[in-house]
Symmetry: C2
Subunit: 305 residues, 2 copies
Protein backbone atom coordinates (compact mmCIF):
# COMPACT_ATOMS: atom_id res chain seq x y z
CA UNK A 1 0.00 0.00 0.00
CA UNK A 2 1.29 3.45 -0.90
CA UNK A 3 2.42 5.66 1.97
CA UNK A 4 0.11 8.64 2.45
CA UNK A 5 1.24 12.29 2.42
CA UNK A 6 -1.31 14.33 4.31
CA UNK A 7 -1.90 17.63 6.09
CA UNK A 8 -3.86 18.65 9.15
CA UNK A 9 -7.56 18.45 9.97
CA UNK A 10 -9.75 21.02 8.23
CA UNK A 11 -7.16 21.27 5.47
CA UNK A 12 -6.34 24.73 4.16
CA UNK A 13 -4.70 25.43 0.80
CA UNK A 14 -1.19 24.85 2.24
CA UNK A 15 -2.15 21.42 3.63
CA UNK A 16 -3.70 20.42 0.29
CA UNK A 17 -0.92 21.81 -1.94
CA UNK A 18 1.99 20.67 0.25
CA UNK A 19 0.53 17.12 0.19
CA UNK A 20 0.22 17.20 -3.61
CA UNK A 21 3.71 18.67 -4.06
CA UNK A 22 5.53 16.44 -1.54
CA UNK A 23 3.84 13.36 -3.05
CA UNK A 24 4.99 14.49 -6.53
CA UNK A 25 8.55 15.09 -5.32
CA UNK A 26 8.83 11.80 -3.40
CA UNK A 27 7.33 9.82 -6.30
CA UNK A 28 10.01 11.31 -8.55
CA UNK A 29 12.58 10.25 -5.95
CA UNK A 30 11.33 6.66 -6.24
CA UNK A 31 9.05 6.40 -3.22
CA UNK A 32 5.61 4.77 -3.36
CA UNK A 33 3.42 7.58 -2.01
CA UNK A 34 0.16 9.34 -2.72
CA UNK A 35 -1.36 12.64 -1.64
CA UNK A 36 -4.27 12.56 0.81
CA UNK A 37 -6.23 15.05 2.93
CA UNK A 38 -8.29 14.98 6.10
CA UNK A 39 -11.30 16.50 4.41
CA UNK A 40 -12.58 18.20 1.29
CA UNK A 41 -10.99 21.38 -0.09
CA UNK A 42 -12.32 24.74 1.09
CA UNK A 43 -13.77 27.10 -1.55
CA UNK A 44 -10.36 28.81 -1.65
CA UNK A 45 -8.54 25.52 -2.26
CA UNK A 46 -11.09 24.49 -4.89
CA UNK A 47 -10.48 27.77 -6.68
CA UNK A 48 -6.73 27.07 -6.64
CA UNK A 49 -7.06 23.45 -7.79
CA UNK A 50 -9.40 24.46 -10.64
CA UNK A 51 -7.22 27.39 -11.66
CA UNK A 52 -4.20 25.12 -12.20
CA UNK A 53 -5.97 21.93 -13.32
CA UNK A 54 -5.08 19.92 -10.22
CA UNK A 55 -7.12 17.15 -8.58
CA UNK A 56 -8.09 17.25 -4.90
CA UNK A 57 -6.29 14.59 -2.83
CA UNK A 58 -8.27 11.56 -1.69
CA UNK A 59 -10.00 12.12 1.68
CA UNK A 60 -8.55 9.82 4.38
CA UNK A 61 -9.78 9.89 7.96
CA UNK A 62 -8.07 6.86 9.50
CA UNK A 63 -4.37 6.02 9.11
CA UNK A 64 -4.14 3.07 11.54
CA UNK A 65 -1.17 0.85 10.72
CA UNK A 66 -0.18 2.88 7.65
CA UNK A 67 3.05 4.55 6.56
CA UNK A 68 2.49 8.31 6.49
CA UNK A 69 4.29 11.57 5.79
CA UNK A 70 2.87 14.65 7.50
CA UNK A 71 2.75 18.10 5.95
CA UNK A 72 1.88 21.40 7.63
CA UNK A 73 1.50 20.02 11.19
CA UNK A 74 3.25 18.01 13.91
CA UNK A 75 0.55 18.06 16.62
CA UNK A 76 -1.42 15.00 17.69
CA UNK A 77 -4.52 17.21 18.09
CA UNK A 78 -4.48 17.85 14.32
CA UNK A 79 -3.73 14.25 13.33
CA UNK A 80 -6.16 11.70 11.90
CA UNK A 81 -7.61 8.73 13.76
CA UNK A 82 -5.16 5.83 14.03
CA UNK A 83 -2.07 8.06 14.33
CA UNK A 84 -0.92 6.02 17.38
CA UNK A 85 -0.39 2.89 15.24
CA UNK A 86 0.73 4.70 12.07
CA UNK A 87 4.39 4.87 11.08
CA UNK A 88 5.39 8.52 10.61
CA UNK A 89 8.22 8.54 8.06
CA UNK A 90 8.61 12.27 7.68
CA UNK A 91 7.32 15.78 8.36
CA UNK A 92 7.38 18.95 6.26
CA UNK A 93 6.15 21.90 8.27
CA UNK A 94 6.51 25.56 9.20
CA UNK A 95 4.83 25.60 12.65
CA UNK A 96 6.10 25.15 16.18
CA UNK A 97 7.25 21.62 16.93
CA UNK A 98 4.28 19.60 18.19
CA UNK A 99 3.89 16.49 20.30
CA UNK A 100 4.07 13.81 17.64
CA UNK A 101 6.94 11.40 18.37
CA UNK A 102 8.25 8.43 16.40
CA UNK A 103 9.92 5.10 17.14
CA UNK A 104 12.33 5.30 14.21
CA UNK A 105 14.46 7.95 12.52
CA UNK A 106 12.56 10.07 9.98
CA UNK A 107 13.01 12.91 7.48
CA UNK A 108 11.95 16.35 8.75
CA UNK A 109 12.10 19.59 6.80
CA UNK A 110 10.73 22.11 9.29
CA UNK A 111 11.44 25.80 8.65
CA UNK A 112 10.36 28.98 10.43
CA UNK A 113 8.80 30.20 7.15
CA UNK A 114 5.35 31.53 6.34
CA UNK A 115 4.16 28.43 4.52
CA UNK A 116 4.94 24.72 4.14
CA UNK A 117 5.01 25.13 0.35
CA UNK A 118 8.00 27.46 0.75
CA UNK A 119 9.83 24.58 2.39
CA UNK A 120 8.69 22.18 -0.36
CA UNK A 121 9.97 24.59 -3.03
CA UNK A 122 13.41 24.40 -1.39
CA UNK A 123 13.18 20.61 -1.18
CA UNK A 124 12.57 20.38 -4.95
CA UNK A 125 15.64 22.59 -5.47
CA UNK A 126 17.78 20.63 -2.99
CA UNK A 127 16.97 17.32 -4.68
CA UNK A 128 17.28 18.83 -8.16
CA UNK A 129 13.73 17.86 -9.20
CA UNK A 130 11.77 20.08 -11.60
CA UNK A 131 8.44 21.48 -10.35
CA UNK A 132 5.52 20.95 -12.77
CA UNK A 133 3.92 24.29 -13.77
CA UNK A 134 0.50 23.28 -12.36
CA UNK A 135 1.94 22.35 -8.97
CA UNK A 136 4.09 25.50 -8.93
CA UNK A 137 0.91 27.56 -9.44
CA UNK A 138 -0.86 25.82 -6.57
CA UNK A 139 2.16 26.18 -4.25
CA UNK A 140 2.39 29.86 -5.09
CA UNK A 141 -1.27 30.33 -4.08
CA UNK A 142 -0.69 28.45 -0.81
CA UNK A 143 2.13 30.86 0.05
CA UNK A 144 0.01 33.91 -0.87
CA UNK A 145 -2.80 32.52 1.30
CA UNK A 146 -0.65 31.70 4.36
CA UNK A 147 1.25 35.00 4.22
CA UNK A 148 -1.91 37.05 3.37
CA UNK A 149 -0.18 38.26 0.19
CA UNK A 150 3.07 38.98 2.13
CA UNK A 151 1.28 41.10 4.78
CA UNK A 152 1.43 38.62 7.65
CA UNK A 153 4.22 38.89 10.25
CA UNK A 154 4.92 35.22 9.44
CA UNK A 155 6.10 36.17 5.95
CA UNK A 156 9.86 35.71 5.43
CA UNK A 157 12.31 36.48 2.64
CA UNK A 158 12.23 32.75 1.85
CA UNK A 159 8.49 33.01 1.13
CA UNK A 160 8.93 35.98 -1.19
CA UNK A 161 11.81 34.29 -3.02
CA UNK A 162 9.78 31.08 -3.42
CA UNK A 163 6.80 33.00 -4.85
CA UNK A 164 9.10 34.80 -7.31
CA UNK A 165 10.55 31.50 -8.56
CA UNK A 166 7.19 29.67 -8.59
CA UNK A 167 5.49 32.50 -10.53
CA UNK A 168 8.07 32.09 -13.30
CA UNK A 169 7.54 28.31 -13.43
CA UNK A 170 3.75 28.64 -13.36
CA UNK A 171 3.69 31.57 -15.81
CA UNK A 172 1.84 33.87 -13.42
CA UNK A 173 2.54 37.48 -14.43
CA UNK A 174 0.66 39.36 -11.69
CA UNK A 175 1.05 37.61 -8.36
CA UNK A 176 -0.85 40.21 -6.29
CA UNK A 177 -3.86 40.17 -8.63
CA UNK A 178 -4.01 36.38 -8.30
CA UNK A 179 -3.77 36.75 -4.51
CA UNK A 180 -6.64 39.22 -4.34
CA UNK A 181 -8.78 37.05 -6.64
CA UNK A 182 -8.16 34.14 -4.27
CA UNK A 183 -8.93 36.16 -1.13
CA UNK A 184 -12.19 37.34 -2.64
CA UNK A 185 -13.18 33.69 -3.05
CA UNK A 186 -11.99 33.01 0.49
CA UNK A 187 -14.04 35.94 1.83
CA UNK A 188 -17.24 34.72 0.19
CA UNK A 189 -19.83 34.18 2.91
CA UNK A 190 -23.11 33.74 1.01
CA UNK A 191 -24.69 30.34 1.34
CA UNK A 192 -22.25 29.03 3.96
CA UNK A 193 -23.56 27.66 7.28
CA UNK A 194 -22.12 28.96 10.58
CA UNK A 195 -20.51 25.54 11.07
CA UNK A 196 -18.78 25.81 7.67
CA UNK A 197 -17.57 29.35 8.38
CA UNK A 198 -16.06 28.49 11.78
CA UNK A 199 -14.40 25.36 10.41
CA UNK A 200 -13.05 26.97 7.24
CA UNK A 201 -9.69 27.35 8.99
CA UNK A 202 -10.01 25.82 12.45
CA UNK A 203 -7.52 23.95 14.65
CA UNK A 204 -7.60 22.32 18.07
CA UNK A 205 -4.61 22.68 20.38
CA UNK A 206 -3.60 21.05 23.65
CA UNK A 207 -2.41 23.85 25.93
CA UNK A 208 -1.13 22.59 29.23
CA UNK A 209 -3.88 19.94 29.31
CA UNK A 210 -6.66 22.25 28.08
CA UNK A 211 -8.31 21.62 24.72
CA UNK A 212 -8.42 24.97 22.90
CA UNK A 213 -9.99 25.57 19.49
CA UNK A 214 -8.89 28.51 17.36
CA UNK A 215 -10.53 29.38 14.06
CA UNK A 216 -9.83 32.18 11.64
CA UNK A 217 -11.87 33.89 8.93
CA UNK A 218 -10.00 36.29 6.70
CA UNK A 219 -12.02 38.93 4.89
CA UNK A 220 -11.15 41.95 2.78
CA UNK A 221 -13.47 44.11 4.94
CA UNK A 222 -14.63 43.28 8.48
CA UNK A 223 -18.04 44.90 8.00
CA UNK A 224 -18.90 42.00 5.65
CA UNK A 225 -19.19 39.90 8.81
CA UNK A 226 -21.54 42.17 10.78
CA UNK A 227 -24.67 40.19 10.04
CA UNK A 228 -22.94 36.88 10.86
CA UNK A 229 -21.44 37.79 14.28
CA UNK A 230 -24.31 36.55 16.39
CA UNK A 231 -24.50 33.23 14.55
CA UNK A 232 -20.71 32.75 14.71
CA UNK A 233 -20.67 33.45 18.47
CA UNK A 234 -23.45 30.88 19.02
CA UNK A 235 -21.51 28.37 16.88
CA UNK A 236 -18.24 28.69 18.86
CA UNK A 237 -20.20 28.40 22.15
CA UNK A 238 -21.57 25.12 20.78
CA UNK A 239 -18.12 23.83 19.81
CA UNK A 240 -16.72 24.87 23.20
CA UNK A 241 -19.50 22.93 24.97
CA UNK A 242 -18.11 19.75 23.34
CA UNK A 243 -15.28 19.21 25.84
CA UNK A 244 -13.20 22.32 25.19
CA UNK A 245 -11.85 24.92 27.63
CA UNK A 246 -12.11 27.70 25.04
CA UNK A 247 -12.90 28.39 21.42
CA UNK A 248 -11.64 31.58 19.79
CA UNK A 249 -12.54 32.83 16.33
CA UNK A 250 -10.32 35.43 14.67
CA UNK A 251 -12.17 37.68 12.24
CA UNK A 252 -9.21 39.04 10.35
CA UNK A 253 -9.39 42.16 8.21
CA UNK A 254 -6.56 41.82 5.71
CA UNK A 255 -6.81 45.46 4.64
CA UNK A 256 -6.97 47.00 8.16
CA UNK A 257 -4.35 44.41 9.25
CA UNK A 258 -5.86 43.28 12.52
CA UNK A 259 -8.33 40.80 13.96
CA UNK A 260 -11.51 40.98 15.98
CA UNK A 261 -11.47 37.86 18.16
CA UNK A 262 -14.74 36.23 19.26
CA UNK A 263 -14.41 34.49 22.64
CA UNK A 264 -16.11 31.44 24.17
CA UNK A 265 -14.18 30.38 27.26
CA UNK A 266 -14.38 28.87 30.75
CA UNK A 267 -11.95 31.60 31.74
CA UNK A 268 -12.37 34.75 29.60
CA UNK A 269 -9.68 36.50 31.69
CA UNK A 270 -7.12 34.35 29.85
CA UNK A 271 -7.56 36.69 26.86
CA UNK A 272 -6.34 39.73 28.80
CA UNK A 273 -3.53 37.62 30.25
CA UNK A 274 -2.48 36.62 26.73
CA UNK A 275 -2.86 39.94 24.91
CA UNK A 276 -2.83 42.63 27.63
CA UNK A 277 -6.20 43.94 26.47
CA UNK A 278 -9.58 43.38 28.14
CA UNK A 279 -12.39 42.03 25.94
CA UNK A 280 -15.53 44.10 25.38
CA UNK A 281 -18.19 41.51 26.14
CA UNK A 282 -17.33 38.43 24.07
CA UNK A 283 -14.88 39.98 21.62
CA UNK A 284 -11.69 42.00 21.47
CA UNK A 285 -9.98 43.94 18.63
CA UNK A 286 -6.31 42.96 18.31
CA UNK A 287 -4.55 45.54 16.20
CA UNK A 288 -1.85 44.13 13.92
CA UNK A 289 -2.71 40.54 14.79
CA UNK A 290 -3.13 38.53 11.60
CA UNK A 291 -1.26 35.28 12.32
CA UNK A 292 -2.78 32.55 14.47
CA UNK A 293 0.51 30.67 14.43
CA UNK A 294 2.89 33.46 15.34
CA UNK A 295 0.74 36.00 17.21
CA UNK A 296 -2.09 34.05 18.81
CA UNK A 297 -1.01 30.48 19.65
CA UNK A 298 2.29 31.45 21.39
CA UNK A 299 0.51 34.10 23.52
CA UNK A 300 -2.18 31.66 24.64
CA UNK A 301 0.42 28.95 25.29
CA UNK A 302 2.30 31.30 27.62
CA UNK A 303 -0.94 32.38 29.30
CA UNK A 304 -1.95 28.77 29.94
CA UNK A 305 1.45 27.82 31.45
Amino acid sequence: MSALVLGHMNPDTDSIMAAIAVADLYKKRGLDVKAAAQGKPTPESEFVLNKFGLTAPEVVEDVAGQDIYLVDFSDLAQAPKGIDTANVLGIVDHHKLGDITTSSPLLCWIWPAGCSCTVVKNMYDFYGVEIPASIAGGMLCAILSDTVIFKSVTCTEDDKKAVEDLAKIAGVADVKALGLEMFTVKSALEGATMDELVHRDYKDFNMNGNKIGIGQLEVVDLSMLDKYREGLQAEIEKIKADGRHSVFLLLTDIMKEGSDMLIASDDPAIVEKAFGKAPEGTHVWLDGVMSRKKQVVPNFEKAFK
Copy 2:
Protein backbone atom coordinates in the same frame (compact mmCIF):
# COMPACT_ATOMS: atom_id res chain seq x y z
CA MET B 1 24.05 36.45 25.07
CA SER B 2 24.98 34.07 22.23
CA ALA B 3 22.55 31.26 21.51
CA LEU B 4 24.01 27.87 22.41
CA VAL B 5 24.37 24.95 20.01
CA LEU B 6 24.55 21.76 22.02
CA GLY B 7 24.16 18.00 21.85
CA HIS B 8 22.85 15.38 24.25
CA MET B 9 23.96 14.34 27.74
CA ASN B 10 27.13 12.22 27.83
CA PRO B 11 28.19 13.74 24.54
CA ASP B 12 29.70 11.43 21.95
CA THR B 13 31.84 12.55 19.02
CA ASP B 14 28.77 13.35 16.90
CA SER B 15 27.25 15.58 19.60
CA ILE B 16 30.56 17.43 20.00
CA MET B 17 31.37 17.77 16.30
CA ALA B 18 27.82 18.61 15.17
CA ALA B 19 27.73 21.40 17.78
CA ILE B 20 31.07 22.78 16.56
CA ALA B 21 30.06 22.52 12.89
CA VAL B 22 26.51 23.92 13.23
CA ALA B 23 27.87 26.82 15.31
CA ASP B 24 30.46 27.51 12.58
CA LEU B 25 27.81 27.37 9.84
CA TYR B 26 25.29 29.55 11.67
CA LYS B 27 27.97 32.11 12.60
CA LYS B 28 28.87 32.36 8.93
CA ARG B 29 25.17 32.87 8.19
CA GLY B 30 25.18 35.85 10.56
CA LEU B 31 23.72 34.32 13.73
CA ASP B 32 25.16 34.96 17.19
CA VAL B 33 25.82 31.39 18.40
CA LYS B 34 28.47 29.34 20.13
CA ALA B 35 29.11 25.62 20.46
CA ALA B 36 28.51 24.00 23.85
CA ALA B 37 28.34 20.48 25.29
CA GLN B 38 26.70 18.77 28.23
CA GLY B 39 29.98 17.37 29.49
CA LYS B 40 33.63 16.81 28.68
CA PRO B 41 34.75 14.96 25.54
CA THR B 42 35.25 11.18 25.74
CA PRO B 43 38.73 9.81 25.00
CA GLU B 44 37.53 9.16 21.43
CA SER B 45 36.33 12.75 21.01
CA GLU B 46 39.56 14.10 22.52
CA PHE B 47 41.53 12.06 20.02
CA VAL B 48 39.45 13.59 17.19
CA LEU B 49 39.71 17.16 18.51
CA ASN B 50 43.48 16.85 18.95
CA LYS B 51 43.96 15.19 15.56
CA PHE B 52 42.35 18.15 13.76
CA GLY B 53 43.39 20.99 16.07
CA LEU B 54 39.89 21.75 17.35
CA THR B 55 38.88 23.03 20.79
CA ALA B 56 36.33 21.24 22.96
CA PRO B 57 33.05 23.19 23.32
CA GLU B 58 32.36 24.92 26.64
CA VAL B 59 30.56 22.65 29.13
CA VAL B 60 27.03 23.95 29.88
CA GLU B 61 24.68 22.17 32.25
CA ASP B 62 21.81 24.63 32.63
CA VAL B 63 20.10 26.43 29.76
CA ALA B 64 17.25 28.10 31.67
CA GLY B 65 15.91 31.12 29.78
CA GLN B 66 18.46 30.81 26.97
CA ASP B 67 18.14 30.56 23.19
CA ILE B 68 19.39 27.13 22.12
CA TYR B 69 19.87 24.97 19.05
CA LEU B 70 19.90 21.22 19.64
CA VAL B 71 22.07 18.77 17.76
CA ASP B 72 21.92 14.98 17.81
CA PHE B 73 18.79 14.66 20.03
CA SER B 74 15.17 15.77 20.42
CA ASP B 75 14.29 13.98 23.69
CA LEU B 76 13.65 15.77 26.97
CA ALA B 77 15.40 12.91 28.80
CA GLN B 78 18.66 13.87 27.06
CA ALA B 79 18.24 17.62 27.52
CA PRO B 80 20.03 19.86 30.02
CA LYS B 81 18.51 21.39 33.13
CA GLY B 82 16.34 24.42 32.38
CA ILE B 83 15.10 23.09 29.03
CA ASP B 84 11.49 23.94 30.04
CA THR B 85 12.26 27.68 30.04
CA ALA B 86 14.76 27.65 27.18
CA ASN B 87 13.80 28.78 23.69
CA VAL B 88 14.57 25.99 21.21
CA LEU B 89 15.28 27.69 17.87
CA GLY B 90 16.30 24.63 15.89
CA ILE B 91 17.23 20.95 15.81
CA VAL B 92 19.72 19.01 13.69
CA ASP B 93 19.35 15.30 14.30
CA HIS B 94 19.29 11.78 12.88
CA HIS B 95 17.28 9.97 15.57
CA LYS B 96 13.60 9.23 16.05
CA LEU B 97 11.54 12.34 16.81
CA GLY B 98 11.49 12.88 20.58
CA ASP B 99 9.18 14.69 22.95
CA ILE B 100 10.66 18.18 22.87
CA THR B 101 8.04 20.70 21.73
CA THR B 102 8.30 24.43 21.08
CA SER B 103 6.03 27.49 21.30
CA SER B 104 7.31 29.07 18.09
CA PRO B 105 8.30 27.91 14.62
CA LEU B 106 11.87 26.63 14.37
CA LEU B 107 14.41 25.23 11.91
CA CYS B 108 14.72 21.43 11.88
CA TRP B 109 17.05 19.37 9.72
CA ILE B 110 16.28 15.82 10.79
CA TRP B 111 17.32 13.00 8.46
CA PRO B 112 17.18 9.20 8.78
CA ALA B 113 20.96 9.08 8.31
CA GLY B 114 23.70 7.38 10.32
CA CYS B 115 25.06 10.56 11.88
CA SER B 116 24.08 14.18 12.59
CA CYS B 117 27.30 15.36 10.92
CA THR B 118 26.05 13.86 7.63
CA VAL B 119 23.06 16.20 7.90
CA VAL B 120 25.33 19.14 8.77
CA LYS B 121 27.51 18.39 5.70
CA ASN B 122 24.36 18.74 3.55
CA MET B 123 23.39 21.96 5.34
CA TYR B 124 26.78 23.51 4.51
CA ASP B 125 26.22 22.53 0.86
CA PHE B 126 22.61 23.78 0.82
CA TYR B 127 23.62 27.18 2.17
CA GLY B 128 26.74 27.35 -0.01
CA VAL B 129 29.13 27.74 2.92
CA GLU B 130 32.65 26.27 2.75
CA ILE B 131 33.60 23.73 5.42
CA PRO B 132 36.95 24.45 7.15
CA ALA B 133 39.39 21.52 6.75
CA SER B 134 39.68 20.99 10.51
CA ILE B 135 35.91 20.81 11.01
CA ALA B 136 35.58 18.54 7.97
CA GLY B 137 38.07 16.14 9.59
CA GLY B 138 36.16 16.09 12.84
CA MET B 139 32.80 15.59 11.10
CA LEU B 140 34.28 12.73 9.09
CA CYS B 141 35.37 11.02 12.33
CA ALA B 142 31.91 11.50 13.86
CA ILE B 143 30.36 9.72 10.87
CA LEU B 144 32.92 6.89 11.05
CA SER B 145 32.18 6.57 14.78
CA ASP B 146 28.37 6.56 14.50
CA THR B 147 28.34 4.17 11.53
CA VAL B 148 31.08 1.93 13.01
CA ILE B 149 33.17 2.56 9.86
CA PHE B 150 30.11 1.94 7.61
CA LYS B 151 29.32 -1.43 9.24
CA SER B 152 26.26 -0.36 11.22
CA VAL B 153 22.76 -0.97 9.79
CA THR B 154 22.21 2.75 10.36
CA CYS B 155 24.77 3.63 7.69
CA THR B 156 23.21 5.16 4.54
CA GLU B 157 24.49 6.20 1.13
CA ASP B 158 24.28 9.80 2.39
CA ASP B 159 26.80 8.95 5.13
CA LYS B 160 29.24 7.35 2.67
CA LYS B 161 28.92 10.28 0.26
CA ALA B 162 29.48 12.79 3.09
CA VAL B 163 32.64 10.94 4.25
CA GLU B 164 33.97 10.89 0.67
CA ASP B 165 33.49 14.66 0.32
CA LEU B 166 34.75 15.48 3.82
CA ALA B 167 37.90 13.34 3.37
CA LYS B 168 38.82 15.46 0.33
CA ILE B 169 38.27 18.71 2.23
CA ALA B 170 40.21 17.47 5.29
CA GLY B 171 42.97 15.85 3.22
CA VAL B 172 42.45 12.39 4.75
CA ALA B 173 43.82 9.80 2.33
CA ASP B 174 42.92 6.57 4.17
CA VAL B 175 39.54 6.88 5.85
CA LYS B 176 39.39 3.31 7.16
CA ALA B 177 42.83 3.53 8.77
CA LEU B 178 41.71 6.71 10.55
CA GLY B 179 38.52 4.92 11.66
CA LEU B 180 40.42 1.96 13.11
CA GLU B 181 42.88 4.27 14.88
CA MET B 182 39.90 6.05 16.44
CA PHE B 183 38.16 2.82 17.47
CA THR B 184 41.33 1.60 19.12
CA VAL B 185 41.28 4.73 21.27
CA LYS B 186 37.57 4.20 21.91
CA SER B 187 38.17 0.58 22.94
CA ALA B 188 40.83 1.52 25.47
CA LEU B 189 39.72 0.28 28.87
CA GLU B 190 42.83 0.62 31.06
CA GLY B 191 42.50 3.10 33.87
CA ALA B 192 38.79 3.79 33.39
CA THR B 193 36.37 3.34 36.29
CA MET B 194 33.20 1.25 35.83
CA ASP B 195 31.17 4.43 36.06
CA GLU B 196 33.20 5.98 33.22
CA LEU B 197 32.86 2.90 31.04
CA VAL B 198 29.07 2.65 31.42
CA HIS B 199 28.63 6.38 30.79
CA ARG B 200 30.98 6.57 27.82
CA ASP B 201 27.95 6.35 25.55
CA TYR B 202 24.86 6.21 27.75
CA LYS B 203 21.33 7.60 27.27
CA ASP B 204 18.12 7.63 29.30
CA PHE B 205 14.80 7.12 27.53
CA ASN B 206 11.18 7.49 28.60
CA MET B 207 9.38 4.38 27.34
CA ASN B 208 5.67 4.51 28.06
CA GLY B 209 6.35 6.12 31.43
CA ASN B 210 9.30 3.89 32.35
CA LYS B 211 12.78 5.38 32.70
CA ILE B 212 15.16 3.16 30.75
CA GLY B 213 18.93 3.60 30.52
CA ILE B 214 20.87 2.13 27.59
CA GLY B 215 24.64 2.28 27.34
CA GLN B 216 26.98 0.99 24.70
CA LEU B 217 30.65 0.06 24.67
CA GLU B 218 32.17 -0.70 21.29
CA VAL B 219 35.32 -2.81 21.21
CA VAL B 220 37.36 -4.39 18.47
CA ASP B 221 37.24 -7.74 20.35
CA LEU B 222 34.68 -8.72 22.97
CA SER B 223 37.16 -10.77 24.99
CA MET B 224 38.84 -7.48 25.96
CA LEU B 225 35.85 -6.97 28.25
CA ASP B 226 35.94 -10.35 30.06
CA LYS B 227 37.65 -9.07 33.18
CA TYR B 228 35.29 -6.07 33.41
CA ARG B 229 31.93 -7.88 33.08
CA GLU B 230 31.30 -8.35 36.78
CA GLY B 231 32.10 -4.72 37.56
CA LEU B 232 29.98 -3.42 34.68
CA GLN B 233 27.01 -5.55 35.81
CA ALA B 234 27.29 -4.18 39.37
CA GLU B 235 27.51 -0.64 37.95
CA ILE B 236 24.31 -0.91 35.85
CA GLU B 237 22.47 -2.45 38.85
CA LYS B 238 23.51 0.63 40.79
CA ILE B 239 22.28 3.03 38.08
CA LYS B 240 19.01 1.09 37.80
CA ALA B 241 18.45 1.39 41.58
CA ASP B 242 18.36 5.19 41.09
CA GLY B 243 14.74 5.35 39.91
CA ARG B 244 14.99 3.39 36.65
CA HIS B 245 12.91 0.45 35.43
CA SER B 246 15.87 -1.02 33.52
CA VAL B 247 19.44 -0.36 32.51
CA PHE B 248 20.95 -2.21 29.56
CA LEU B 249 24.59 -2.15 28.48
CA LEU B 250 25.49 -3.21 24.94
CA LEU B 251 28.96 -4.68 24.66
CA THR B 252 29.40 -4.38 20.91
CA ASP B 253 32.02 -6.34 18.99
CA ILE B 254 32.60 -4.33 15.83
CA MET B 255 34.50 -7.19 14.16
CA LYS B 256 32.02 -10.00 14.98
CA GLU B 257 29.18 -7.49 14.27
CA GLY B 258 26.93 -8.17 17.23
CA SER B 259 26.38 -7.18 20.84
CA ASP B 260 26.32 -8.94 24.18
CA MET B 261 23.73 -7.05 26.23
CA LEU B 262 24.07 -6.84 30.02
CA ILE B 263 20.68 -6.61 31.78
CA ALA B 264 19.51 -4.94 35.00
CA SER B 265 15.72 -4.79 35.00
CA ASP B 266 12.55 -4.92 37.11
CA ASP B 267 11.16 -7.14 34.36
CA PRO B 268 13.92 -9.14 32.62
CA ALA B 269 11.25 -10.88 30.47
CA ILE B 270 10.99 -7.60 28.51
CA VAL B 271 14.26 -8.56 26.79
CA GLU B 272 12.78 -11.74 25.27
CA LYS B 273 9.65 -9.77 24.34
CA ALA B 274 11.82 -7.20 22.55
CA PHE B 275 14.33 -9.50 20.81
CA GLY B 276 12.70 -12.96 20.74
CA LYS B 277 15.66 -14.45 22.57
CA ALA B 278 15.82 -15.47 26.22
CA PRO B 279 18.73 -14.10 28.27
CA GLU B 280 21.28 -16.45 29.83
CA GLY B 281 21.31 -15.12 33.37
CA THR B 282 21.86 -11.37 33.14
CA HIS B 283 23.07 -11.14 29.55
CA VAL B 284 22.10 -12.09 26.01
CA TRP B 285 24.07 -12.23 22.73
CA LEU B 286 22.28 -10.35 19.96
CA ASP B 287 23.77 -11.33 16.63
CA GLY B 288 23.99 -8.50 14.08
CA VAL B 289 22.82 -5.91 16.60
CA MET B 290 25.20 -2.95 16.55
CA SER B 291 22.89 0.06 16.59
CA ARG B 292 21.21 1.23 19.77
CA LYS B 293 19.16 3.73 17.79
CA LYS B 294 17.89 1.49 15.04
CA GLN B 295 17.99 -2.02 16.49
CA VAL B 296 17.61 -1.65 20.25
CA VAL B 297 15.50 1.41 21.11
CA PRO B 298 12.64 0.67 18.65
CA ASN B 299 12.40 -2.96 19.87
CA PHE B 300 12.21 -1.91 23.50
CA GLU B 301 9.72 0.85 22.69
CA LYS B 302 7.42 -1.71 21.06
CA ALA B 303 7.88 -4.13 23.95
CA PHE B 304 6.99 -1.45 26.51
CA LYS B 305 3.82 -0.37 24.63
